[in-house]
Symmetry: C3
Amino acid sequence: MPFTLVLGGARSGKSAHAQAQAEARAAETGGRLVMVATAQAFDSEMVERIDRHRADRGEGWTTVEAPMDLARALDALGPEDVVVVDCLTLWLSNLMLADRDLPAAASELVASVARFRGTLWLVSNEVGFGIVPDNALGRRFRDEAGRLHQVLAQAADGVTLVVAGLTLRLK
Amino acid sequence: MPFTLVLGGARSGKSAHAQAQAEARAAETGGRLVMVATAQAFDSEMVERIDRHRADRGEGWTTVEAPMDLARALDALGPEDVVVVDCLTLWLSNLMLADRDLPAAASELVASVARFRGTLWLVSNEVGFGIVPDNALGRRFRDEAGRLHQVLAQAADGVTLVVAGLTLRLK
Amino acid sequence: MPFTLVLGGARSGKSAHAQAQAEARAAETGGRLVMVATAQAFDSEMVERIDRHRADRGEGWTTVEAPMDLARALDALGPEDVVVVDCLTLWLSNLMLADRDLPAAASELVASVARFRGTLWLVSNEVGFGIVPDNALGRRFRDEAGRLHQVLAQAADGVTLVVAGLTLRLK
């Protein structure tokens, strides 16, 4: 604790914002900086994106990969850890592709966040401001992301919307 | 009066927000809670969505179905009524599919809202924050929704943007 | 100077907002109102859009067309000019279709804005709040737009988000 939800569009600077906040916190507390990365390198585009994110992060971060078992990854971290999970929409997407039970996974995540004692930023894409997707998978993904954001926003100590690298405080 | 426009993304909690506001108002004034629903049950996905919305609403609401004749539905309501219209983007979509004159329908709605004496929340999806849709219908829909929101926002006493269940006051 | 970035969705009223701000400024300073338009009339839909924008603008504006060489167009303007560039996403799109070097063009634009001595509004579509586009071109466009907005927002004196004709001050 505390736990902050960071929402933003694609390339909005939401990851950089969460990382900068975490680095400032770790500098204060001496805690360990942990990046819980949900990205999976399926293709060259994702490999490139992952590499660029890793390079942007620079030194000082321990990376934990958790494409699906996010609750378990959080449970393994301690109260001194300063943690950024990046990002929830990729995690949702991984779960959907693997045909996992999304409401169950969302409940597990919420429970895990509630019992987490470290400092936590959850980063996620706000994806609901476009026209209705023309395929059922896209519509389902958008619905699940929206529901997850609502539940987490309610539980969060702070919620920030990032637009063009700037922040709007929602909570 | 007063009239509030509630904008939000898909699954942002905009309906729940409008309903909670209306319920609080009705509890104060003793007015009748009226849901003007624009959804049409074309397929099983929509049937499910409509049922879920109805269940989320709980007791105490009178439902009026108005997939297209929204102005007429509002005109039939009284000054004591506490009304939520959910949602305008579905209404626009119904009109487009039926090949109705959209600017005329939008003008009728604006006129009807102006003469409405009850308390009113209009709920709508903000759909303009994605990339340009790859089909002309999607582009036209997005343009019409944007224009309608501007006209209504100008006339409204209050405008709220809902993100992850949280509200940003725009007016 | 000063330089303001105006972001908004499709049909959000972002152009009208920037124009109104510029007109108020020009009325104060007596400066020349210049519209730097990036739209290219490829097809009848774009011709109609361009005509409507021109009609909406009314008298008093000098229009400069700059579908790609935006930096050069800005460099040709003077310190008394009151300038709106509308819009950056169309400009990005033109550059992509012409297979230009986007990061280089973005750097040139940023440098040109930094040395510009007039008053400037840059209008752009926020396009990152939908689900991941299903084609690589759309994803690349969205990424480039997001990156450009971040760089410009950092350099800007003010950043405004327009929703339904209403403004949220981000900076």
